[in-house]
Subunit: 240 residues, 2 copies
Amino acid sequence: MLKYEAVVDDLKKKINDGKYAPSTQLPTITQLCLQYGVSKITIKKAMDELERQGFVTRQRGSGTYAKQRLDENEFARWTENDHIKGTKRDYAERGMRVTSVVYDFSVVEPPAHVARYLQMDPHEGFCYHIVRRRDLEGEPSSIEYTYMPIDLIPNLKRANVEDSIYHYITEDLGLNIDSAHSIFRAVNPTEDEQRWMGVGPGYPMLEVEQVAFLSNGEPFEYSITRHLKITGEVHSVRVH
Amino acid sequence: MLKYEAVVDDLKKKINDGKYAPSTQLPTITQLCLQYGVSKITIKKAMDELERQGFVTRQRGSGTYAKQRLDENEFARWTENDHIKGTKRDYAERGMRVTSVVYDFSVVEPPAHVARYLQMDPHEGFCYHIVRRRDLEGEPSSIEYTYMPIDLIPNLKRANVEDSIYHYITEDLGLNIDSAHSIFRAVNPTEDEQRWMGVGPGYPMLEVEQVAFLSNGEPFEYSITRHLKITGEVHSVRVH
DNA sequence: CAGTGGTCTAGACCACGGA
DNA sequence: CCGTGGTCTAGACCACTGC
């Protein structure tokens, strides 16, 4: 374990345990250097991380202070944003059963805006088009519309789509998923969605439009996911 | 201007101008050190920032690559998250006129969950309770329910509430707003909201529940804001 | 003006990717 | 194996807060 990670973990624990209570000052950087036997820049890096995660606030000339964090909702997602991982793994780690219903799995020419996001030349190349309902413990949770270039993600099978696409990409293809750019909005379900999800026309859904990237900067996925209320909640920490 | 900021700005410009095209490799850290005449750790810090903002991706052993960013929507908010500022200032900077309709401005005992978020002892101390509609260019944009301890924010006047509360806190009180923890959800409007905002019962609104903090770690505001579709859009970059 | 956090350096060493 | 980015150090100097 890296030194700054160890410092982060220890300070998180102390803040959660109330050893450093909310709105009280933490030891100074110099003191923490002595305490953990590391250099100033390492403590600084640990503090950057704690600030990003919403555990502390810092004021030059004054000090570092603990903050109280919002209660974690059981269904909160991609908040802590320390990870990009598939829905399935995300929930599997909490011991929840994720299943899928596939409504479409085909190969198409992508619409213009999708081609643009995926950096494909117009009318050059094809994409998978996937429509899936994701169920949590057997209950409909979200509906997902995905485009991926077949050149980047070859040989995707229906079995992968019914299980976990992210698993196929990372484990079978050995590709490295790096990051995602997302937009969140509130929307109403389409008629198809009302039928698929069992909700009325005025039901509020959280829509996430997203482009995901590999570690070489190539976009490999454009998707729109619409979440039912119970599982659609996004937490975030904004700083400065 | 700080050295790493100058590097960030210059690289952003080069990426936006296509000098470093999406999915292509940037110069190595060593090359950038020479190019900008700064040390490795300064380039590193600049890269951290560019990664956080979604401009680049990095892979140890391989290199740093440019990414294409999602188009900026005119109404995208607190994405770039480089700033916490009030709605008014936020939109004023884009040349838009923000006005308010105040439905309630009173002093109350906070509900239990609000008292907990604001770290107030139960039945000890009072809060302002503010209900405001925020209008953009004369059109209803969002409805806002706010609690703030009167001890922390003394002498708040109706005129401030009708103008900008953030302005009063930062300019008049000289307090330092540091950060905010938020939760996003999709919801339907209440009956009051349907009347105030001129929408039907099934209209999808983006709700933001939020606790905001001063730079000494003290929470000073609990609020729930519900946005109409046109102005309620949140952009975000998730990494690793 | 003493004490805090922030920036920056030059350089050692490590971890990982890819040919 | 070499080249990449990542971590870490000791220490100089700066910027801000608050008494």
